[in-house]
């Protein structure tokens, strides 16, 4: 076990434990805050995989954008009369059994498959290369995603602001 492995296990533990709390805690606000730690853990795993730009994008978009949106969603859809904002659950036992079997199967498949692995040498930074790829090979998808984001934002604003007649 070298230093890299120890860091990986720490980030994996943070990610999985906080994800477990996200799906099991009753209080929605606590869930949202555990989700913060999950996103940070995933960003750490991206850094360990040599994806520095994606890690920064993950923190900026997920933590700075999506998590805040989710918190707004929680606040706007509950009568904040008390401190406790709970979420009910349905069919715990079938879900535990079903997703448990699924998880066992997928984890076993992932772990015991002998993947052909030939790690490329890590570039010093990925932002330069990513920029070239985005504006050469993937430029059509890049432009389409820009239009999609614009449409999504206009759509979201118009759906959320519609007043009843």
């Amino acid at each position: 076990m070298n230093f890299y492995d120890i860091i990986f296990y720490i980030f994996a533990a943070i990610t999985i434990l906080s994800a477990l709390f996200v799906v099991t805690t009753k209080n929605i606000i606590y869930s949202a805050f555990y989700l913060l730690f999950t996103f940070f853990g995933v960003a750490g795993i991206y850094v360990l995989l040599g994806a520095d730009f994606i890690a920064i994008a993950q923190i900026m978009v997920y933590v700075g954008g999506i998590l805040i949106l989710l918190l707004f969603g929680v606040m706007l859809t509950n009568k904040v009369t008390g401190v406790e904002i709970k979420s009910g659950t349905v069919q715990i036992m079938p879900a535990v059994i079903g997703t448990g079997i699924f998880m066992g199967a997928v984890v076993a498949a992932m772990f015991f498959t002998n993947w052909r692995s030939e790690p490329a040498s890590l570039p010093a930074g990925t932002a330069n290369e990513l920029g070239h790829l985005l504006l050469n090979d993937y430029v059509l998808i890049f432009e389409l995603l820009g239009i999609l984001l614009l449409i999504a934002l206009i759509g979201a604003a118009s759906i959320a602001r519609r007043e009843k007649e």
Binding site: V23, A51, V61, L76, E129, L148
Partner: protein
């Protein structure tokens, strides 16, 4: 076995995917279902980046991960707008009580 390789990243991603799936199928509150979806998207991203790192494919996997992040942002915005409308109509956002299309 303890030295971290491709398998370990894939296992973390598989566990994260299962937890997200568990959140999606068990939670009543629509915002919590959205949190489960975010977990699932994150696990898919880990797979993309892990294969991009260990598969010697260049950085295409990271570009795909970037696209997934963008789509997740668009999806969260639209989904929360829909959730707000559901709240305006039904006065709660429990997905098991919104069944007016059933009969």
């Amino acid at each position: 076995m303890l030295t971290v390789g491709l398998n370990h990243f894939l296992v973390v991603s598989a566990v994260l995917f299962s937890l997200g799936l568990f959140g999606i199928v068990t939670r009543k509150n629509a915002v919590m279902v959205l949190m489960g979806i975010e977990l699932v998207l994150n696990s898919a991203n880990i797979n993309f980046i892990a294969f991009s790192r260990f598969g010697n494919f260049g950085l295409s996997g990271q570009v795909m991960a970037l696209f997934v992040i963008i789509l997740a942002a668009a999806e969260a915005a639209i989904a929360l707008a829909i959730v707000l409308n559901i709240y305006k109509t039904f006065a709660n956002v429990n997905v098991d009580e919104i069944d007016h299309l059933k009969e």
